[in-house]
């Protein structure tokens, strides 16, 4: 779920590396072609839940590692089952790779994370291209997963292959976990944070390619790079209305679909109370410095007075700041009725909430019940996700990320970020393993913010820059 190019336009909170980097590294033609071929292959593999394609993709990526000389006994395709009432079922798989340190490791492993599955995409919803046939057009790669997040899978894989070919020897183990159901049930991450920890070598911290990233403005200027240190809690709810139904030629006064529509109209009009935490305060403190207009004024007013709800509402209404000031809930799916000529006996809507860190998902359920205020409309939870936690800032990770960003995007400000999406990071954070979203892909904001939507796309150059970004990060952190 999740990977979002943050939309920033701003100032350095984590400090821009002042030391000028050496010459920006570049890929050889062979490395470039290998990354292109791998990207095309994985985009063309529709790893949507229910289509049983994740194991094949995991095997394909595993084969790339093995062909590059990683020992087969350290490359594991781990099949597992995923499923729930709302997502359906699938036989999926995770890929686990262990790049062992030369000699005695200096520290516990670094975990590199990503997910291989993608959100459903229907060809008829897309403008021109088939979502599962990668197309290069106007400087972009189009296809489902180009930004969420097969670019990260390819970047990590190609970076490790390149480093190995270059003779780099990590001083600590580098473990890779690519899961197969992040967009749906997150069981791969749950397994990773529990039963697969031995295979992963009990990592010290995680670097997630499904978070962080770099944004450019439409004029090409820097909008900022984000490092994800906190995330909202992902929680799903179902609104259910039941009715006696009957024959559609004789409409009843009460109707399950109308009751549901009425409840949805109330949710549409509702806004949760605004809230600030340490990460978002730091984020807005950076943002306001470069926002001279009404948006900046609103940020300044809100930081000065956290009870200024009007200011928070103005910020939330800005396309670049959606979801950062509070809990947000939105309907994502509808189901209802059983025949076109029968009054509905059942109508349901799935409500997807992104809950401000620290707020109990049960409290949001109670709040939804209050909003809807109709005993006919029953609110239930779809999961038992606990409230999510933030990861403390680490100078080594912050430094490595900042230096990698500076090498490819000189002058790009770097921010901490609360992600509005949830990701595989949650169970690791809950298990005491901090996780940082530090991907190096870049997009133009807001026009390229299309994760989960139609015509998802990635600037062509971003893919190759991301490979270099991960090489820089791993050289840096793997040498310590």
């Amino acid at each position: 779920m999740r990977h979002l190019s943050a939309t920033l336009s701003a100032v350095s909170c984590l400090a821009v590396s002042s030391a000028l980097s050496a010459a920006t590294p570049a890929l050889t033609q062979a490395q470039h072609d290998a990354a292109h071929a791998m990207f095309e292959h994985v985009i063309d593999t529709p790893t949507v839940i229910g289509r049983h394609n994740v194991p094949a993709m995991a095997q394909y990526v595993a084969d790339q590692f093995i062909a590059a000389g990683f020992p087969a006994e350290d490359v594991h395709v781990v099949p597992y089952h995923t499923g729930s009432a709302t997502t359906g079922d699938d036989d999926t798989a995770a890929l686990i790779v262990r790049w062992r340190a030369a000699g005695t490791p200096r520290a516990k492993p670094i975990l590199l994370m990503g997910h291989m599955d993608v959100v459903e995409a229907k060809p008829e919803d897309w403008s021109a291209t088939d979502p599962f046939k990668m197309v290069e057009k106007d400087g972009y790669y189009y296809g489902r997963g180009t930004t969420d997040m097969k670019d990260g899978i390819v970047a990590i894989t190609q970076a490790m292959i390149n480093l190995k070919a270059a003779g780099f020897k990590p001083k600590r183990d580098i473990a890779v976990l690519f899961t197969g159901d992040e967009e749906t049930n997150g069981l791969g991450a749950k397994n990773g944070a529990t039963q697969w920890l031995d295979l992963l070598g009990h990592p010290e911290f995680g670097l997630n390619a499904d978070g962080g990233g770099i944004s450019l403005n439409t004029d090409g200027g820097p909008a900022g790079a984000t490092m994800q240190t906190a995330e909202k809690t992902f929680a799903g709810y179902t609104l259910t209305v039941r009715n006696r139904g009957g024959h559609s030629s004789k409409p009843r006064k009460d109707n399950a679909i109308y009751s549901l529509a009425h409840a949805l109209d109330k949710i549409e009009a509702y806004r949760f109370a605004p809230a600030l935490n340490e990460t978002t305060r730091a984020y807005f403190a950076g943002r306001e410095k470069l926002e001279k207009g009404p948006l900046g004024d609103a940020m300044r007013r809100w930081l000065a007075n956290p009870n200024d709800g009007d200011a928070a509402d103005l910020i939330e209404a800005s396309e670049s700041e959606v979801g950062l000031t509070r809990t947000r809930c939105v309907p994502t799916r509808l189901f209802g009725g059983h025949a076109d000529n029968a009054l509905p006996q059942l109508a349901t809507a799935l409500i997807n909430c992104r809950i401000f860190p620290g707020v109990d998902p049960d409290a949001i359920k109670a709040e939804l019940e209050k909003i809807v205020a109709d005993p006919e409309v029953v609110v239930t939870r779809n999961d038992d996700n606990p409230a999510s936690l933030a990861s403390p800032l680490r100078p080594d990770v912050t430094g490595a990320y900042t230096r990698a960003v500076e090498a490819l995007h000189p002058g790009m400000p770097v921010f901490p970020e609360m992600s509005t999406g949830a990701s595989d990071a949650r169970p690791f954070r809950v298990a005491g393993i901090p996780v940082y979203g530090v991907n190096g892909g870049w997009t133009v904001t807001p026009i390229d913010n299309r994760a989960h939507g139609k015509d998802e796309r990635l600037p062509v150059k971003s893919l190759y820059d991301n490979v270099v970004h991960w090489e820089l990060m791993l050289r840096d952190l793997g040498s310590k």
Binding site: M1, R2, L4, V119, E120, K122, D125, E183, F234, G236, R244, G245, G246, H247, S248, S249, K250, P251, N255, I257, Y258, L260, A261, H262, L264, D265, E268, A317, V322, G323, R328, V330, P331, T332, R333, L334, G336, G337, H338, A339, D340, N341, A342, L343, P344, Q345, L346, A349, L350, N352, R354, T420, G421, A422, N449, R450, A451, H452, G453, K454
Partner: protein, 478 residues
Amino acid sequence: MKRLLALALCTAVSSAAVAATDPRTIPSQLPPAWQAKTRDVFKQAIEIPTVHNRGEVPRMAKLLADQFRAAGIPESDIHVMPYEALPGDQTAALIVRWRSPNATKKPMMILGHMDVVEAKREDWKYDPFVFREEGGYFLGRGTSDMKNGDVATTMAAVKLMSEGFKPDRDIIFFYSGDEETRGVGATLGSTKWRNLTDAEFGLNADGGGASYDRNFQPLGFGISMAEKTFQTYFFTTHNPGGHSSRPRPDNAIYDLADSLEKLRTHRFQPMQNAITRGYFEERARQEGNSALGQQIRAWLANPNDGAAADAIEANPLEVGLTRTRCVATMLKGGHADNALPQSATATVNCRIFPGVQPKDVQAELQAMAGPKVEVTPDPLYIGQPTPASPPRADVVDAVKAAALRFHGPNMRVFPVMSTGASDGSFFRAQGIPVYDIDGSWGISPDDERAHGLDERIPVRAMYDDVLHWESVIRDLSK
């Protein structure tokens, strides 16, 4: 689609309001041996889940065909006609001809359908496809719509044959297999298969019927002679979608919900025709000075009195009789739990007043819903407005005789406009008048569960229906 027990006739003001007998407790006159045979065939029929796409209709056709065969109808006059209804839905129709040894009249046709509307186990108290008898009722999907009619017409014919009855006209039995979805069977039956079905008129078991109110006062027996046009529309919204963690100000589901809020309160222009005027005149007589009776009289006196028509329409007994009605029946939207919806669709089912063109209803719905919503007709079923059938004295008299026998003199028989559509519309459109005259009955509104939960029929009504059809067939072919 369609069959409604209800007749909408409110208390026949039997002013001498002595507590009436519960009609469910009166024993049926059907002999016990025939009750047992009927129950056995009915049980088998209910337990064949003839929902579209399940491929079970041919089994049901065989069940009915077997009864005719055992009664002596030769193989050459029994035709199971396989056909495709909804794309991929392999179904079948059954056409049986009971020949007259010396016909003096043109054939008459008896119609029904073997398919049923979907019923989900989790929605029902008991398995809808397991036949149950409980508290004086038979329960299961199809007990009132309309395997009761299939079994009653079949068993009536079998019983008449066993008694040596010789009709003076051929009697054609036509049971379709997709009335609830596409009506392909009736389309074929009224055109391509016309050599097997051509008849002077049709009697449809998928409509008609008597009802009682909760105090067991007879409400009437309606013969449907006209029907509203069935047309489904789709309300569709589109949106670029995106990640659900970043809600957009516009949302396909919200746009759809807004249009459904409008649909909930939208009311079409009230209308009358000759059949509904006849119906409401009868109703006014029965209602006397009640509020509803006054409203009906006001509307009959002044068809432009919209307030009176609205008050009538709001009465649960009269829903759908004063105008075109449209109601949301299904919803679908979104493609993933964590993605903003790129599209959302509501199915809106309309019953259009005879004479109104479906495209005009579409235009009115589009204007109501606004530019964010696309209103399109279901391409799989384009409704055809059909003419009312002319009243026939022989049919009306046969039904009156049967109604008198089973329900007494207080059960009045009169013409109605059906709010549902049925296979009859296809035959009416091809020049064969059709009259809905099934003889089942129930308590209104408690037993009106066609298409809904825990569908049922009084046990006695099932058995009476066999006698009813026996009586009607005899009267019209002797």
